[in-house]
């Protein structure tokens, strides 16, 4: 019995908690991709860099706040910097739309042209971020590091395995829940949100009903900027902030959006967790887990790891391929914002 409890604690500590945090970050990222897809109808390759830019803006504000001696006590100061970061990112994203995308919208250009333009935006933004903050690793988390540590848990429970809950994990999950609830309330309950859904469902009909397309697009960008900033900052708090990771995050984010069904917010959230849990479950070394659950004779010699951690992109990719082959519309048939 005790070894079974140990096994569960082990999984919670190294698999479930990290996957919950990572999944929330991916879900927020995928929501941004899905929103832009629903309203502007192209896959935004610049989204990873929007996250990066948002996180950078937050870091800069956090440093400013820290230097003024402001802090949130046990919570990271970055949370206080979020609104300012979102405002700056939204301004940048709206400017990008004005300078780059609005022209192609007027031309009614093919989606692939938008896609290429978004790749261009991705690189310009990446360059700007590196120019401002540099390519190095940045840590900006402060406040309490743990809700409870592995040692405290061991003393409390008397188990051999420790369970630590880092505060960033809890903050990430809670923030994601609040943000998603607010987003759904906005989309389903407010007039503006409903007009966005109408526009996404049927552009022509929405125009006939007097919905202002420019306003819908503007709001979609602002929401995307907010989601991206929050996702990027949470990712940076949870791990660390490095400009080049965001290009690699693009693949899991797209995978999440597609698994759930592109254009469908519920799907994006489910997709985020599917990708995160499979990525961590497949690259997890099960040796210790098996030693708790199996009789000693059956425990394997190796790490009992399905795939080396370096192949975590491959997991997103395989998920993507399977979805494309089996159910191209995604789990929650896409295209209904």
């Amino acid at each position: 019995m005790e070894s079974l409890l140990n096994a569960i604690v082990l999984l919670l500590n190294f698999l479930v908690f990290p996957a919950l945090a990572y999944g929330s970050q991916l879900a927020l990222g995928a929501l941004g991709v899905t929103l832009i897809y629903g309203v502007l109808r192209f896959s935004n390759f610049g989204h990873g860099e929007t996250m990066s830019f948002g996180a950078m803006a937050c870091i800069l504000f956090t440093w400013a706040l820290q230097s003024w001696g402001v802090s949130l006590g046990p919570l990271p100061t970055a949370l206080l910097a979020l609104p300012a970061g979102i405002a700056v990112t939204a301004a940048v994203v709206l400017a990008t739309d004005k300078l780059v995308y609005s022209y192609y919208r007027k031309q009614k250009a093919a989606p692939v042209i938008f896609l290429i333009a978004s790749v261009g935006v991705m690189f310009v933004m990446n360059g700007i971020v590196r120019f401002i903050i540099g390519p190095d690793d940045r840590r900006f988390a402060d406040g309490e590091r743990f809700i409870f540590t592995a040692r405290e848990f061991k003393e409390w429970s008397g188990l051999a395995e420790g369970l630590a809950l880092r505060s960033t994990v809890l903050i990430t999950v809670l923030t994601a829940v609040v943000v998603v609830a607010a987003l759904f309330w906005f989309l389903n309950r407010t007039r503006t949100g409903k007009s966005m859904r109408a526009y996404s469902d049927n552009e022509d009909l929405a125009l006939l009903s007097g919905i202002d397309p420019d306003r819908v697009v503007r709001i979609a960008w602002i929401l995307t900027a907010a989601l991206a900033t929050i996702a990027g900052t949470l990712y940076g708090l949870d791990k660390s902030y490095k400009p080049f990771t965001f290009l690699q995050l693009l693949l899991p984010i797209f995978a999440a959006a597609i698994v759930g069904g592109v254009g469908n917010p519920v799907g994006a959230i489910a997709g985020g967790f599917v990708v995160a849990f499979s990525e961590i479950a497949v690259t997890f070394a099960y040796k210790k887990f098996l030693s708790y659950t199996l009789p000693p004779a059956l425990v394997p010699d190796g790490l009992a790891q399905l795939l080396s951690t370096d192949y975590k992109f491959a997991v997103s990719f395989v998920i993507l391929v399977v979805v494309l082959l089996v159910k191209p519309t995604g789990l929650f048939s896409g295209k209904t914002l």
């Binding site: 790749v119 261009g120 310009v124 360059g127 995978a255 993507l320 391929v321």
Partner: protein, 443 residues
């Protein structure tokens, strides 16, 4: 000014730029830039075949180039006999097992009826097969990687002339493109972009981690060359006479001579591919591809199988990129998986095609030359610019230091801006695509 004169003029300006670099910064550097320009031009021809002919957006150029590079290693590096003895059998057995499993999956796919049962059977075969392969694979990999890890630690290659790898690199890239195309072509166009982005990341991850095959981040250095070595040249009688008659020191001239040999080889490949591309583009096949690109629905109504034609052109373009990738590794004489960066290998090539003129092979070649030239020369120019902009500040001013440090990142911004500006204001590029009407006017 007609478009033909503009094309000639652009190439003439490019030639003048090379002469300028030769006189100012030295001929060795000018040739080094030229060689990479030639390879870039081939890569950009490959992307042009995909994008310019058929409108397919490939974000995985880096992956196909890296596969070509790997083939250069696998073809030319001498086989490591000890490693083969230690783990070769295990690797062959796991390869055979993988083939059997693939065949079993295919059989299940063919002979079972579509539905849940088939899906679960295939999943079960793959899962069981994975564990069976690992039984043979893991010990073999450990054995190979522990054979003299400081010098080899991998299986090595076939030990045949590296020039053959150029063709094999193209074939390998084509094979991977076929698989990717099979999965994602025929679906919405964004899926190809996302799938190619994914496969290129996975290929790079494999190159970095499968040490038994590629030596991973330990890199493979000292690949054999298709051209003579400087040291040998400097001792050859005829070479000493030649350099004396040119009035250059043998050491300087040997480096120029070697680069010149590469330049000749690369030019031959470029001309062959360019000739074939032009022939293809101006044939009924090329016109069909452009008809599909411009209006899929009407081309389909005319009886063209769009998915198959897309697959064909995607495979062809990727093969050209693979050839260029193998050539690049040949030129470097080493294989360094960590040097494959999406910026350099995917994005830059795209800028070349868009700037040069998508749909026009000459444009793609010109784009390859122009963009690579400025990519190399941007750094000295950027540093000089930052230096003179901040010249008024104190030498230890933090802003000045930051700006000079960041000059390298300016490349990203500049290349991104070039792409966006050309796409917006001159989407047809330096040498625009020629339409049917223009052909008629010429004849």
């Amino acid at each position: 000014m007609t478009e033909t004169t503009r094309a000639y003029l652009s190439f003439a300006v490019m030639a003048l730029l090379f002469l300028a670099v030769g006189f100012v910064q030295g001929w060795s550097l000018a040739l080094a830039i030229l060689n990479l320009c030639l390879i870039s031009a081939i890569m950009s021809l490959g992307v042009n075949i995909q994008w310019g002919y058929a409108g397919l957006f490939n974000v995985g150029v880096m992956g196909f180039a890296a596969v070509g590079g790997l083939m250069a290693v696998l073809v030319s590096y001498p086989p490591v006999a000890e490693a083969w003895a230690a783990g070769g059998a295990g690797i062959l057995v796991s390869g055979l097992l993988a083939a059997i499993i693939a065949a079993a999956c295919y059989a299940a796919y063919r002979f079972m009826r579509k539905g849940q049962a088939r899906m679960w059977t295939i999943s079960a075969i793959i899962l069981a097969g994975y564990f069976i392969i690992r039984i043979a694979y893991d010990p073999a990999v450990d054995a190979i990687e522990s054979v003299n890890p400081a010098a080899t630690g991998f299986l090595g290659g076939l030990g045949i002339p590296i020039i053959i790898s150029w063709a094999i690199g193209g074939l390998a890239a084509a094979g991977i493109a076929w698989i990717i195309g099979k999965i994602s072509l025929g679906l919405r166009s964004d899926y190809l972009a996302i799938a190619t982005l994914g496969i290129s990341e996975i290929i790079i991850a494999m190159l970095k981690n499968e040490d038994w095959l590629t030596r991973g981040v330990k890199n493979v250095i000292g690949l054999p060359r298709p051209v003579p070595y400087e040291v040998d040249l400097q001792q050859a009688e005829w070479f000493l006479n030649l350099s004396a008659s040119l009035g250059m020191s043998p050491v300087d001239f040997s480096s120029i001579f070697v680069k010149l040999c590469y330049a000749i080889l690369f030019t031959i490949v470029l001309l062959v591919i360019l000739y074939l591309s032009e022939k293809a583009l101006n044939s009924p096949w090329g016109r069909m591809m452009r008809a599909i690109r411009d209006n899929e629905i009407s081309a389909n109504a005319m009886g063209k199988d769009i998915t198959r034609r897309h697959l064909q052109v995607f495979v062809l373009g990727s093969a050209v990129i693979g050839i260029a990738g193998a050539m690049l590794t040949t030129l470097d004489g080493q294989f360094t998986p960590a040097s494959y960066q999406p910026l350099r290998f995917t994005f830059l090539i795209w800028v070349m095609v868009i700037v040069g003129g998508s749909g026009n092979n000459w444009g793609a070649v010109l784009g390859g030359f122009v963009i690579w030239f400025f990519w190399i020369e941007a750094e000295p120019i950027g540093i000089w610019l930052m230096d003179s902009l901040t010249a008024g500040m104190a030498p230890d001013n933090p802003l000045r230091l930051h700006l000079i440090d960041s000059a390298a990142h300016m490349r990203l911004i500049v290349m991104g801006l070039i792409l966006l500006l050309v796409l917006r204001f001159s989407p047809r590029g330096l040498i625009p695509e020629r339409t049917g009407q223009q052909y008629n006017q010429q004849q």
